[in-house]
Symmetry: D2
C-alpha cells in the first residue's frame, strides 16, 4: 500500500531526523516553550535542500495516501523537532489538508503555497473558552454576522496552537445557517492574543493562545469553501488531523522506547543489567506490544480514510487507543530511566509531557468513548 517512491522518501526522512534533526534537540533555541522560529527555519533549510519539506504533498499539490502519510509522519516524529523540521506539524499539516480540499485557487496561492513550502505557520481558531465550543462544537459562541458584502466576527477562542507568529488563521464562527470558516491574514488588529498559555507540552512554536476577536471584518472572498458548511469542513479536517497526531507521537514514543531499551541494556543494578530484571524487561515487552498495536490501529484507520470514507468512528477508536498506548509507553520509559527519566537529559521526559497533553488534544478519550457508545446504541436499536 506504500508506493516505492514514498517508501524511499520515508527512508530519507528517517535518516534526516536521525542525522540532522536529533542533534538540534540540545540546541539552546529549543527551550521550554518549543523551538524558536529561527531554529525551525534553520532545520527546514536543510530539509529543503533534500526535498523533504512537506514530503506528504506531491509537487502538483496532491497528497499521498493516508497510509503513506502514516509512514512518513511516524518517521518524522522520531524527534519531537522532526515534524517541524520537515513541515508536517499540527496545526499546519491539517490546515494544508483542508485548504487543499476546499480552498479556491487564489486562496491556495496566497495561503497554502507558502505554508506547504514551510515559509509560514498557520492557526486553526475553533476551540472556545467559558463553556463555548470545545469537545462539544455545538456550543460555539463566536458569531459571524453578514454585513453587506462582508462579515463581522466577534468571539473568544482558546488553546489556539501556533497563533502567536502565524501568517494566517482559519476562523470558525456561527453563521445564520450553521457555521462558516474564514481565512484571515495574521497578525490582525481585530484578533488580539490575550495570553499564551503555559502548558505541559513544549513542541509547538507559538504555543497555545487565548484570543479575543473583536469586530473582525472579512470580505466574501475570505470565506473558506461554502457559507454555513463549517461543521462539515471541520469533519473533513478532523479525522485525518487526529490520525496525524497519532502518527507523529508514535514516532516519539518509539524514540523513548529505544532510549529506554538502550539504557536498560547498559545500566546495571543489583548485579545485572536492568533489562535482565523482569520488572524492567516486562515493561519493555509491553512497550513493544503497545507500539505494534498502535501502529496497526493507525494503519487500519488510515486505510479506511483511503477508501474515501469519513473514518470518524475509526479515527476516534484509533485516537483513544493510540494516545493511551503511547502514554503507557512514555510512562514506562520514564520509570525505567529512573532519575534520568524525570530530567531533560533525554527526550523521554518531553515525550511523556507531550503525550499526556495528546490524551486531551483533538478530543479527550472520554468524548470519543461517549460517541462510540452512542453509535453502538444506534446500530443496535431496532428501527
Amino acid at each position: 500500500m506504500i508506493s516505492a517512491e514514498v517508501a524511499e522518501t520515508v527512508r530519507r526522512v528517517d535518516a534526516f531526523i536521525r542525522e540532522t534533526v536529533i542533534p538540534y534537540e540540545a540546541d539552546p533555541r529549543n527551550g521550554g516553550h518549543g523551538p524558536t522560529d529561527e531554529l525551525v527555519q534553520e532545520m527546514r533549510e536543510k530539509a529543503r535542500a533534500l526535498g523533504l519539506v512537506a514530503p506528504h504533498v506531491r509537487p502538483d499539490g496532491s497528497h499521498v495516501s493516508h497510509v503513506e502519510t502514516a509512514a512518513l509522519l511516524k518517521a518524522s516524529g522520531y524527534s519531537p523537532l522532526g515534524p517541524l523540521a520537515v513541515n508536517v506539524m499540527a496545526p499546519d499539516e491539517g490546515n494544508m489538508y483542508l485548504l487543499h480540499k476546499v480552498a479556491t485557487a487564489e486562496q491556495k496561492r496566497h495561503f497554502l503555497k507558502p505554508l506547504v513550502e514551510g515559509r509560514t505557520r498557520s492557526a486553526f481558531l475553533m476551540t472556545e473558552p467559558d463553556g463555548g465550543a470545545g469537545a462539544d462544537p455545538g456550543m460555539m459562541k463566536t458569531t459571524a454576522r453578514p454585513d453587506g458584502n462582508h462579515w463581522v466576527i466577534d468571539g473568544r477562542k482558546t488553546f489556539i496552537t501556533g497563533a502567536d507568529g502565524a501568517a494566517f488563521g482559519i476562523v470558525m464562527a456561527k453563521s445564520p445557517g450553521g457555521a462558516t470558516m474564514f481565512l484571515v491574514d495574521l497578525p490582525n488588529p481585530a484578533i488580539r492574543i490575550e495570553r499564551v498559555l503555559d502548558t505541559i507540552d513544549s513542541s509547538m512554536p507559538g504555543g497555545h493562545s487565548v484570543i479575543a476577536i473583536e469586530n473582525l471584518r472579512v470580505s466574501a472572498d475570505q470565506v473558506l469553501g461554502e457559507i454555513d458548511q463549517g461543521f462539515r469542513y471541520a469533519q473533513v479536517r478532523l479525522a485525518p488531523a487526529r490520525l496525524t497526531h497519532c502518527m507523529r507521537w508514535w514516532g516519539t514514543a518509539k524514540r523513548a522506547h529505544d532510549i529506554a531499551t538502550g539504557y536498560a541494556v547498559k545500566r546495571h543494578a543489583f548485579g545485572k543489567p536492568l533489562i535482565d530484571h523482569e520488572g524492567v524487561g516486562f515493561m519493555l515487552a509491553d512497550n513493544e506490544i503497545d507500539l505494534k498495536q498502535a501502529e496497526l490501529m493507525i494503519d487500519w484507520a488510515a486505510g479506511v480514510l483511503d477508501t474515501g470514507a469519513h473514518g470518524t468512528v475509526e479515527s476516534s477508536m484509533a485516537k483513544v487507543a493510540v494516545s493511551e498506548a503511547l502514554f503507557r509507553v512514555a510512562d514506562r520509559c520514564v520509570q525505567i530511566l529512573g532519575g534520568t527519566g524525570v530530567s531533560r537529559d533525554t527526550v523521554v521526559e518531553q515525550a511523556f509531557r507531550e503525550i499526556r497533553a495528546f490524551r486531551i488534544y483533538d478530543g479527550p478519550s472520554e468524548v470519543h468513548r461517549w460517541s462510540l457508545a452512542k453509535r453502538l446504541k444506534k446500530l443496535n436499536t431496532p428501527a
Copy 2:
C-alpha cells in the same frame, strides 16, 4: 489476502454457527465439562452435510493461509461449541497442522485422515507435572529409550487436553540427542489417565488429564518426523496453535460483547437504558477498541506466518495482547450483565471462564514477556 472462495466459506461458517450451533448451547448434553462426544458428532453431522468440517483444510489436504484461517476460526468461535462443530478445535487443529507438515503418507492415512474428517479426536502429550516441561520445555523428564527397533517411553504428563476419548496422541519425550515425537493409538494400556482435572474452563471434550506413561513400547514407524527433532516440531506447531486459540476466543469474546450490547440497549436502570449510562457505554466502547486491536494483532501475526517465517516473536506478542484484551472484554461483559453475567443464562459467564484459562494455556503472559525481553536485549547488545 482472503480468497473469494474462503470468504464465501467464512460466510457459511458464520451462518451455520448462528443458525445451527447456537441453539445447541442450551442442550443438556453441553454440561459443565463441555459437550459430550455424542453432541459433538451430532453437530458435526450437520456441518458435514454443508461441507463445513475442517473448512481450513482443502480437499487435497493443504491448508488455507493463516490469514484465511483467522477469518474462518473467528467465525467458528462465535459459539463456544462452534470450533467443535466445524472441527477446528484445539488440540486437533494444531495436530492436523503438524501432521500435515511432518507425517509420513501412512501416518497421514491412519491418523490424520479421520481426524480431518471429524471422526476422531487427538491429544498432544507434552506438558509435565512436578517441575517437568511446562512453560520451560527444557525441563522435560519423560524419556524415550531406544530398545532395538523400538523405543520405550516412561514419564508423566499433565494438562493433556482431550486425552480421555482421543483416538491417538502425539507423545513427546527426551531422546538421547534431543526430544522426539511419537504417534500412539489410544487408548493404550501403557498410557494411564490418572485423573481428569476439574478446571475453570468447560469447552473441551475429554477435559485435561494427568497421565502416567509406563513402559510404553513404540515401533520406529511411530516416530513423527525425524528422531531428536521434537523441539523443532513443537516450534512448528506452536506459533500457529497459539494464534488459532486467539482466533477462536476472539469469536467468543465478540459474542459476549454482542450479548452485552443487546442487554445494555434493552435493560433500563435509573431512568434510562444501561447503554446511556457512560459507566456502561464506555465499557462497550472499550470492548470495540479491544476487539479491533485483537483482530489486527491476529491478522498481523498470521500474515507474518504466511510469509514462511516462524513467527515466534509475533505470535508471542499476539498471544499476550489478544488473551489479555479478550479477558478485559469478557470481564466487562460480565459486569454489564450484572447478576445475569455471573449466571449461565448466557454464554458470557462461560466466555469469561474460558478466556481466563486462555491467559495461561500455550504459555502464560509472563513467559511471553520474558522471551520478548530476552530478544530485545539480544537485538540491542553490540556483538
Copy 3:
C-alpha cells in the same frame, strides 16, 4: 478496638478453620454448587462443640462491634467453607443483624434463635428480574396489598441466595406508603422456586433462585418492624452486609495469596524459584499491598459504623475498593499457579470465581461509583 475476649475468639476461629474446616474442602459433598446442608451441619457440629457458631453474637443476643466482626469474619473466610462452618455466611449473617435490630421478641424466638444457633438457613427476597428492583431499589414491582388483618403479596424475585432449603425468608414488597418487609416460613406453597440459577460462584448452599410469589397471604404479626419502613430497614442491613462480604472474601483472598506464595517459593522455572522471577515476585508484592489496603478500608468503614453512623458512603467506598482489590489478588494467584491455578486442585480457582461474583453482588462497582459521584456533587454545589 478489639476486646481481649474477641481477640481470643478470633484466634480460636482461625485455628478451627485451619485445622478442621480446610480438610473438608476436598470432601465430595463440597461440590460445584457448594457444600450440601449435611456437610454444613457436620462442620457446624464441630464448631458448636467449641462455642464457635455465630461467634459475633454474644450469649445475650447482642452483636460485637463492627471492627471486631471484621476480625472474626476475616479469619472465618480463610476457607470458602469457613463462614458456613461458623455460621457467619450471607445472607444469614445480615438477616441475623436485621432481626436483632428490628424483630419482635416473638419473631426473634421463632426465626432468629434457630438461625443464630446454626440450625436453620434463611433468605432475603429483595432483588427482582425484568427491570424490577436491582441496583435501583426504586423499581420494585412486587406488591403487598392490605386485605383486612392480612397482606397479600404478589411478584417475582431473582438471585435469592439460599432460598432453596431456607427455613424462612424476609420478603420485601411495595406497600401503599412505601415498602414493607415480611417474615415468612419456608417452604410455602405461594412462594415457588422457578429455578436455581447456575452461577459462577459455588459457596452458598441453596444457590441463587428465581422465585414467583403468587397470592401469598401473611398476617399482621409477620410484618418485620413497621409498615412502609422497608427501604429504611434495607439501609440498616445494607452497609454492614456489604462489609461482611468484604471481610469474608478478604480471608479467602489471603488464603489464595498464601497458597500462591508457597507455590512460588517451591516451584522452579528457568533455573530458579518462581518467586525469584520479578514477574512473579512483583505480583506477590502487589498482593501484599492490596490485601493491606483492603484490610484498612474494611476496618475504617467498620469503625464508622461503630460510631452509630449509617456508613452508606464509607461502605460503598469499601465495597468498590475491596472487591476490586481482592479480585486483582485472586487473578494474580491464578496466574502464578499457571495450569494449577485454573484447576480445582487448590481453592484459588474457587476464590477467583467467587470474588468475580462479589464485584457484582450487593451492588456492582458502577452503582457505587455513581452514588459517590452524586454525593460529591451535592457536597460541592452551593445551596
Copy 4:
C-alpha cells in the same frame, strides 16, 4: 492518636495554607524551577509570626509522633508551596529528623537550629551517577579516606536536591569499615555543582544537582554519629522521609481533586454539568477512594514507626501504594480539566508533574516491590 494540641496546629496550618500560601502560587517568583529563596523567606516570615515554622518540632527539639506528623504534613501539602512555607519540605525535614536523632549538641547548634528555624536549607548527598549508589546503595563509589585526624572525600553525586543554595550538606561516603556520614558547610570549594538538572518537577528550591567532590577535607568532629554507621543512619532517615513525601503529596493530590471537583460541578458539556457525566463522576469517585486508601496507608505505616519499629517494609508498601494512587488521582484531575488541565492555570498540572517524579524519588516502585518479594520469600522459606 493525635493530641489536641497538634490537632489545633493542624487546623492552623490548614488555614494558613489556604489563606496565605495559595495566593503566592501565582507570584512571578514561583517559576518553572520552583519558588525563589526570597519568596520562600517571605512566606516563612508570615508562618513564623504564627508559630508555624517546622510545626512538627516541639520547642524542646523533640518531634511530634509520626501519625501527628502525617496530619500536619498533609495539611501543608495542600499547596505545593505549603511545605516550604512552613518548613517541612524535603530534604530539610528528613535532615532535621536525622540530626535530631544522631547529631552532637554542637552539631545541632551549628547545623540543626537554623534549619529548624527555617533560616537555612540543607542537602543530603547520597545518590550517585554512572552506576554508583542509587536504588542499590551498595554500589557507592564515593570514598572517605582517613588522613590523620581528618578524612578526605572524593566522588560524584547526582540528583542532590537543594544543594544549590544550601547552608550545609550531609555527605555519605564509603569508609574502610562501611559508610560514613559527614556534615559540611556549603558552599565549599571542594564540592562543585557541575550542573543543576532540568527536571519535570519544580517545587524544590535549588533543584537537583550533579556534584563533583574533589579532595574534600573534613575534620573528625564533622562525622555525623559514628564512623561506618552510614548505612544504618540512612535507614533511620529513610522510612520516615519516604512517608513524609507521601504526606505532602497527599495534600497536593487532594487539592487537585478539589479543583477538579469544583470544575466538574460548574462546567457544562453536552447539556449537563461534567460531574453528571459518569465518565467524569466515576473518575472523581475513584479519586475519593484512592485518597482515602492512601491516607489509611500513610497512617498505618506512621503508626508502625510510632511503635519504635523501623517500618522499612511498611514504608515501602506505603510508598508504592501512595505514590501510584496519587498519580492516578492527579492524572484523572488533568483529564477532567481538559485543556485547562495541561495548562498552568491551576496547580493540577504541577501536581501531575511532581507526583510523576515522586513515583521515582526515594526508590522507584520496582525497587520496593523487589524488596517486598525478597522478604516474602524469606518469611516463607523453611529454615
